[in-house]
Amino acid sequence: MKIVRRQRWLKLDNAAKIFPAARTRSWTNVFRLSVTLTEEIDPEILQKSVQDIKKRFPSICVRLSNGMFWYYIEETKDTPTVQPEGPHACMKMEFSEIKKCSVRILYYKNRISVEFFHSLTDGNGALVFIKTLAATYLENRYGIDVPHSDGVLDISVRAKGEELEDSFLKYAGKIPASRRDTDAYMHWGTPLDERFTPLVTGVLDISDIKKECSKYGVSVTTYLASVMAYAIQSIQEAEVPKRKHKKPIKIFLPVNLRNFYPSSTLRNFILFVIPAIETKYGHFEFDEIVKSFHHQIAFKLTEKNMSSIMATNVKDELNPALRVVPLFIKNIVMKAVYNLTGERKSSITISNLGNVKLPEIMDEYIERFDFILTPQCTQPNGCSIISYKGKLYISFVRKIKEPKLEQAFFTTLVKMGIHVKIESNRR
């Protein structure tokens, strides 16, 4: 007798709810993680590996569906098909595509790339997925045996309940924090008239950066966020010379909440801190920014703060009166509220996934990791960072023609004596 396995379905987690509603032409809400191997990818083995791991990730190999009141995600019946990578990174997923499969698995030369619709998971959950995919691929291709550690999951067992939970609901505090905030400065340029996403990646030696960080006694993220604020300040000084028109420069830094709570969820579980400098007060020197950011981040990044922000975010979701509003009305309202309050509150998002650690046996087959994050709603650029084997990969994607920010950011690093190698998807 054949046992029909029911397709598992899940509600969207608290952070994911906004993404389907707030999709626009210029806000794709797609991010990409890539792993580059030492040899060319065999698509058939890749397809088999996807098949092998699919059941282990019932919250990632999914499609988005709409219920009467909320969206939900549902396991796909078929295994996602691997496709050759096209020239357009992180293309917008049309609803018709999201409703078939909300994840794309791509290959190009030595590289496997996975593009996720942000409702499924955050960068950390995605990293577990791509590590496990790479491990399974290596096992299938080279017959090696990869231990189940460092984020490589055991695909012979079933998905664990805690991996599928919405940790926001579980760990949210009781007292909501105030949401009020002022608008941030955002540079702008000529909108791209094509859907191509220009991508610029800077490759740095992590030891160079660490040396600079220890000079100031701060973390890599704090240091790079300060470089970013300094670069944006130089753009603002050129574009908005009048002091009274200046708006604060705010850097949106996603925070992995798994570092605060014992959660092993593979779904979204991130919040953010937004260190800022008020450029109305005058020109900030770099060391002023570093010091200020270091303290601002330490001040905001506490468990109590995080739990109260979570409480604010889940409050509306738990309100019974709001829950019964039909989905299409929710969409309109959420979009409007988001456009009014959303990402205008920060100048840019920098998502740092940190240093990728793998089981030792995998290291000799793998060259590098890349992480690409598309720009948030109204922001002109997206910036994402990942590091592996002593190299730091800083990727910029933009939706304006001018690479102002990329240039300002990387030349700032160069002036600080850090060697930067630039790559791009345009030659």
């Binding site: 050759p84 096209g86 190009y108 702008w188 345009r426």
Partner: protein
Amino acid sequence: MSYCVNCGVELAEYIKKCPLCSTEVINPNQPYDFANTPPYPEYEPITKQRVSIKTMLGILAVIFAVPIAVCLVADLSDSMLTWSGYIISSLFTIYTIIVSALVIHRRSVLLEQIFDYGAISLLLIYIEYQSKGGWLLSFALPLLGGIALSTLFVTFLAKVLNKRILTVISFASFVLGALCVLCDFLIKFNFYNSISIGWSLYPLISLTAIGTVLIVIDSNSYLKRRLAKKFFI
């Protein structure tokens, strides 16, 4: 290994132009090697499938031929062509407008409009000739001429002089105000036998005000950027 002389960053081997500042990479010691394989697929623009214009014109001709034939047959049943002339000439006018949109549009928008207005005036002349209404020279043609001149002027501003969108809109509202006055005048002159203007002053004043506001916004770049950010679609 080449560096950008402007930014000071090292550039990957396959790069010909600095992605940050567009400065070309010229390294006499290391000419560009086309064997370098870039880590991303070659860029191709996203193209949409297009139906050829000839097929479209053919299909349209068939679509228009059917009602024309039906009208002719129905009208000929009492052995004289009477009402079908109006329908056929209107259909011809519509067809010419569609053809000009498909064929002439890509060459010149101005020429397309001239062509369209020509077709419409031919239709008007035909109706006047058939119905002997006596309104063509004193009313219809001056009004059509006014409309034609205004749209041609606005198109000229937008497409030929490439003025900014706000400038174009403000001039369009000035012209629209003037058109209201013309229309008002012609109606009064033709049907009430008086040389005066009345209601058209209200749209004239408000459209002029809107146009002026837009010109002011257009000349203030800070205000404009702010508005563009707030209202982008």
